[in-house]
Every structure is written in C-alpha cells, then in structure tokens.
Amino acid sequence: MTLLGNLALWLALLVGIWGALAGFVGGLKDRPDLARSARHAVFAMCAALLVAVVSLEWALFQHDFNVEYVAAYTSRNLPVFYTWSALYAGQKGSLLFWATVLSVFGSLALVLTPRHHRALLPHVAGVVSLVAAFFISVMLFGQANPFQRLPYTPLDGNGLNPQLQNPGMVFHPPMLYLGYISITIPFAFAIAALLSKRLDTDWLVAIRKWTLLSWLFLSIGICLGMWWAYVELGWGGYWAWDPVENASLLPWLTMTAFLHSVMIQEKRGMLKKWNLALIIGSWLLSIFGTFITRSGVISSVHSFTQSSVGYFFLAFLIVMGTASFVLYTNRLPLLSAEAQLESMVSREASFLFNNLLFIGIAFSVLWGTLFPILSELVQGTKVTVGPPFFNQVNIPLGLALLALTGIGPLIAWRRASVPNLQRQFAVPGTVGVFTALILLVAGMRDFYALMAIGLGGFVVGTVVQEFARGARARHRQYGEGYALALGRLIARNRRRYGGYIVHTGIVILFVAFAGMAFKTETEASLRPGESASIRSPYGWTYRLTHLGISQYDALNRQVTAATLEVSRDDKRLGVLTTEKRQHVDAFGRPTFQPSTEVGIRSDLREDLYVVLGGVVNGTEQAVFRFTINPLVWWVWYGGMIVALGGLIVMWPGGSPAAKRAQAGYAVRLVGEKP
C-alpha cells in the first residue's frame, strides 16, 4: 500500500502542476478547453490524494512499522481512535492531510459555485492546484514523505505522544487545519478576481460562505485547543501566548475584520482594496502560522512538529506574498469605491475603527511573536516574550474592541442623528454602568476585570435591545407572539442576528478571561488521611483529604492514581482522582516521560483543578498542586455560543429578497442620485 501511496503522491503532484498551468493559462487566454482541463485536474488530484490517505491509514492500522511514520507515531497497543488520528499527529502525515483537504475543498468550490461566477473558476482551479502541488512537493522533496521506509522493521512503534492521547487532540488539529486550509478558497477567488479584473462585489458573494466556514473552523479549532491545553497540559490555564497559539489567532483576527468590513462593501460598494488585502493577508498569515509551527524558528511547546520543512514554507510565503502584492498594486486603479462615507457617526465609520483594532491586535500579536528574533537582529540579545508582555499590550486593545462590539450595532448606516444615538445608547449604557457599579460595591477591585465585565454588560444590553426591538416590531407588524416573532426574526435575517449571537459568545469569553484574574493556587505534600485547604475567591474554603494511591495497568499505560476527598465549607462534595501515566509499548517498555492527568471538579462559578506532582520517597505521601480557576466553564460555553452564532449566520437558505439586499449596494436615500 505504501507503493500505491507513493505513486498517488507523484500523480497528484504532476496533475497539480498541470492544473495550475492549465487554470491560469485557460483563464487568461479565455480557453474553455484548458479551463475544463484545470477543473478536471483538481478532481483528479483530489482522488489521488485520497488514495494516498487511505494507503497511509492502511499502513497505520496494519502496524507496518517498516514505514518510518507508522513506527514514529503509533504502537501496537495504541487505541484505534488515536491510531486513526495519527494521520495528522506528525509533520509528514499532517502535510498529506492538508493537501488532501485542500483538494477536497477546491473540488467542492468548483462544483458548488454558481454558474455566473464561471469566469473566475479557471483561476480558482489554478490557485488550488498550485497550493496543493506545493504541499505535495514539500512531502516529496523536503524529506517529509509519510511513506518513507526504514532499513529495518522495529518490533513495535514509538507510540503517540501521551499529550496527544486525548479526545481534544483528535478534533482540535483537524479543526484548525480545516480553518487554515479553507482560507485558500477565498484567497483563490480573490486572486481570480484580480487576474480576471472582475473586481465588482460579485466575487465577494461567491466566497461569503467559504469565509464564514473558514472562520467557524478556526474558532472551533482555537476553542478546542484551549480546552485540550487546560485538561491535558496541567499548567492550570488555557492560553499561554505560545507562538503556535498566536499563529492560529492571527488569521482569525484578520478574518473577523474581513467579516465586518465586507458588509460595507456589500452595502455601500466601499473598501474594495481593504477587503482584498484582508483576504490575501489572512491566507499569508495561515502560511506564516504553518511556518512558525513547523520550523522551530521560535521556541514553542508544539515542538513535536519542528523540522527543516519550515523553510520551504518561508520561501513559499515570500514568493506568494510578493506575487500577490504585485498583482494587487497593479489592479489598484480598478478598485475605486462606488460611494463615500457621509458621516463620522455612522455604522461604516464604527466598522472601520473595529477593523483598525482587529488589525492592530493582529499586528501586536505578530510583533510580540517575532520580537525575540528582531531583538536578536537589532541588539544582539535574545529576549523572552511571554504572557506578561502580551497581556500588557493586548488587554487594553481587547477591551476597546469589546466596547466597539457594543457600539457598532447601535449606530445607523450612513448617518446617525443625536436623538437617535441617545435613544440607542440609553439602555445598554445604563446596563454597562450598573454592572460595573454592582461589582465595585461587591468588592471587585481588579480594573481590567471590572472593565471587561462592565463592557460585557453594555454589549449584552445592546444585543438584548436589538432582539427586543426586532421582536416587538414583528409583533406589531404581523401580530406574531413574542417567541414566534423572535424565532422568525433570527430565521429571516440570520446574518444579522447570528452575528449578535456571536457577539454574546464573545462577551461570555471576555468575562471568563476576566475570571482568571482571581486564580488561586497552592502546593501541598500529603500523607493518606492528611488534608490541605484552599480558599476560593468566592469566600468559601475547599478541604482536600488525601485518601491514598493506587497503581494499576491500563491498555497502553501504567497508572498511578491519587484519590482525594473534596469538601467545601465542611460539606462533602465527592472524590477527585488525578493520575500519573507511564505509557508503555506492547512489550511493556516505557515510551515517553510520565504524563499527568488532571483532576477537575467544575461548576459554573469555578474549577477546582488538582495535579498529582509525584510521590515522596516512593511512598503514598504525594505532592499536589491545587488551583481554583474561576469562570472556566464560561470559556467553553462562550466558544459554543460563538460556534452556534457562526452556524446560524452561514446556514443556507434565507429569503431571496434578503440575499439581494445583502449582495447589492443597499438602500439609497429618497431623491438621491443612483
């Protein structure tokens, strides 16, 4: 099967190169035969890559340890669930996964795009083929071939890194990959629009769903990554401003900026240059993220994916960045706005400031991520840029963005009058101020936490006001009951109200982040029967009694489990278990360093987070770290609500009238010249 996989890779490369050539030439020379051939090349490349994936999965499940990748990432006793996910656990497999998913997305884009965008499709096929061919050539020429064989056959494989043996890691990497990969489709349409000079708003309509899909995958992938880091890594948090985490955040920020600014182009025919730049920039950032993840140029906890292939990505980034920039600047004269901003106090202006903040935060994250390299170049000294730096720079910017999340929807398109502003801001402003005052009176003194929750109240006030006014209008207009009116309100304008649901999720996330300002932790070494206490920020005290340690063998690991009885203010809550796991291969030989399984007791207010550090002198006396993390569940709920809002926004259907309004340049004032 590995021979078949290798052949499939070579075939995919050749077909990809042909697809790129045929696509670009067919599009530029207006040759339907070449355009058709490029389209078929994408389908053929997709089929060949799927064969390669099946071949690799076959080798993984057959435990063919003569294949270097299989020996490096699996073992005979690895659970089936993780054997399957080993496809993208390592560098080589994830490159194959990336190229395959890109070809699947490319094929879907070619099949699903409506016929009236036909002129763009040869170029789209060309870009997809080119990018996929690059990934395949990295595998074939960058010593990253997943089918590479060893000169001998080990009895058993190395097994999967224990930290990757977690359900979060089965879903988190593919979700992030899907997010990164699907950005290629909007990028391909942007390049197609530039090459074909069809730079009206039409191409934006073609990519709307793809952009949302990509943003949704990235959002879910980032949230799953946070969850995995929290439950698996054991350091007691979910975001450490690690370079690889930052690399996933960068395209998310620029895509979010695009999703806002694209509304201005759709409604007013403005910001064409900006929107194109955002799409191209988002794609380049996704390749930059891949370079960071795989090069090891910046120190990161994701060290299992470092190798020299990163420099292939750097070269590709430079070439594609330069080509895109030249094409973009060449087409600038064709990208003039069809309308002008009429007032500083308008929805358009607020969206522009919102974009400024998104791009500003993206820049500051990128700046901080690259600053160690810059510092070494400029002052010859390597510095460490950790969470204190990022928090100091980004928290104020994030709060300003949260404020704009509430302000934007309250300002009318084109021009807002003073009475209108007063009417719009009265309720949300009062809610925000009262929320902050209540917390202040209750004793909260952390400035950033107060601001985050106060502004959160303001944004929620805005969202509730928008829903209430909409439902009331429908109730008056059509006599619908309020619940029905609310349901139809969302169903009839999913983009707008789905967006408000996303805003609510973002507020919940910010409140959750604010909760971490009140994190409490302590260490203790306890003999069986001994207890330690930790005081919660809510005022109560947890008492944890060490009940003892048991050791047993599980499927592919030797477990040392410590059990603790938990009580809160002398009321017994139950027992918690935290483990040390020594993973072994099928012959019982240790494969990795012992890993930690955290014991977590969650409720809506806080998490009690217990880590077994180890034992003292080989006895049952154990060292524990106890942490209280307030509002952590709000992160997961916030992420779910963001995903739900995103799904509502991109749900297919909607009334044709609404679609026309979203695609056209909206409403003109009475008596205004067209």
């Binding site: 309308a339 510095v383 006014r469 207009q477 360093q593 003292v616 060292v623």
Partner: protein, 205 residues
Amino acid sequence: MNRRHDATLHVDRREFLALGAGSFLGVVASWRPATLQGPDSLPGTGPAGRLWDPARAGRPLEPVNAADNDAAIQAIEKQLHCTCGCNLDVYTCRTTDFTCTVSPAMHQHVVRLAERGMTGQQIIDQFVREHGVAILMAPPKRGFNLAGYFLPSVLIVAAGLVLTLVLRRWARTAAPDRLPAGPVAPAGTSEELERLRGELDRLSV
C-alpha cells in the same frame, strides 16, 4: 395459588401480574439514590505505605515546604523563564512538568538568594547577571525593547488619528453632493410606500 399433586405451584395470570407488580414495587421501595463512595471503602487510608512500583509515579519529589508556597517567592518565579525549553515561567514549570529538573533547581536558587536577604528585584537582577535578559518572562522596558511594548499602541493611535482625519474629509466632501437640500416628496404612491415599508421591515428586523 394452588399446589398441585406433583408439588409444583400453579399461578394464574392475575396472581402472576400481582406478584410481578409487588416485586417491582418492592425493588422500587428498596432503591436508594446512589451515594458518593464513603472514605472507608477507598484505598490507601492510613499511614503512608510504600508504592508497589514508585518508578511509575515519575521522578521522586521532596515534600513541599513553606518556601514553595511563599507568595513573594512565587511572584519572583513568575517573572523568570525556565531554561528547560518549556516556554513556561519557573513557578508554572515546577508545578506542572514534574519531570523537569531545571525549574526545581532554579526555585532552590531563588529560595537561597531570598534567605540571604535579597529583595525580589535583587534576585531577578542576579538571575539576569547569570543568564542574560532572556531569563525574564518579558523584556525589560528600556532601549529597543520599548519599541516592543509601545510600537503597536503608537501605531494604532496614529492610524486611528489618520483614519479620523480621512473620514472627516470624506464626510465633508460627500455630504453636500449626495443629500437633497430639503425634505423631498416621496416618489411613489401610498400603496408602493406601504409595500416598501413592509419589505424593509422584513429585511432589517
């Protein structure tokens, strides 16, 4: 219920159903909500016994002492970067990756310096002398590092100012041309306007 001559019992359908219902009620009545496991049934209570295979529990550790939980020591350690390659601060590394031997050694060094009477800043300075500024979790605010801290904010403020000026200029030039001078009579019949209102309502709410 009748006993037959062969000593078997004959149960008619009504009796059978009654017995079944009675048994079911008996089971329901005897059911208790599952309680949390009591401590007596859990393993290992009592004096600290020796583990069957201590090697499985990772590197042997020392008991926690007062310095390990000292807030001042922790505050210092949260500013120092562990050099094991984990990208974490010393405190987080030593309380997370219990296989690391670097962060416990750095912790001991911090404790020793504190016991000598050094202040937090003096301890941090000592680490910088020994390891360079890369030992700090965030670069010190001086020289080129100031660009690291302030360039993004300065650029955002500058871009915000430029954006404000540009928008004001656009707004000034666009407004007079585009807007009608006074109120304009609606260009449609009342029936058309009513339809328009309905459509707009449907679209925007």
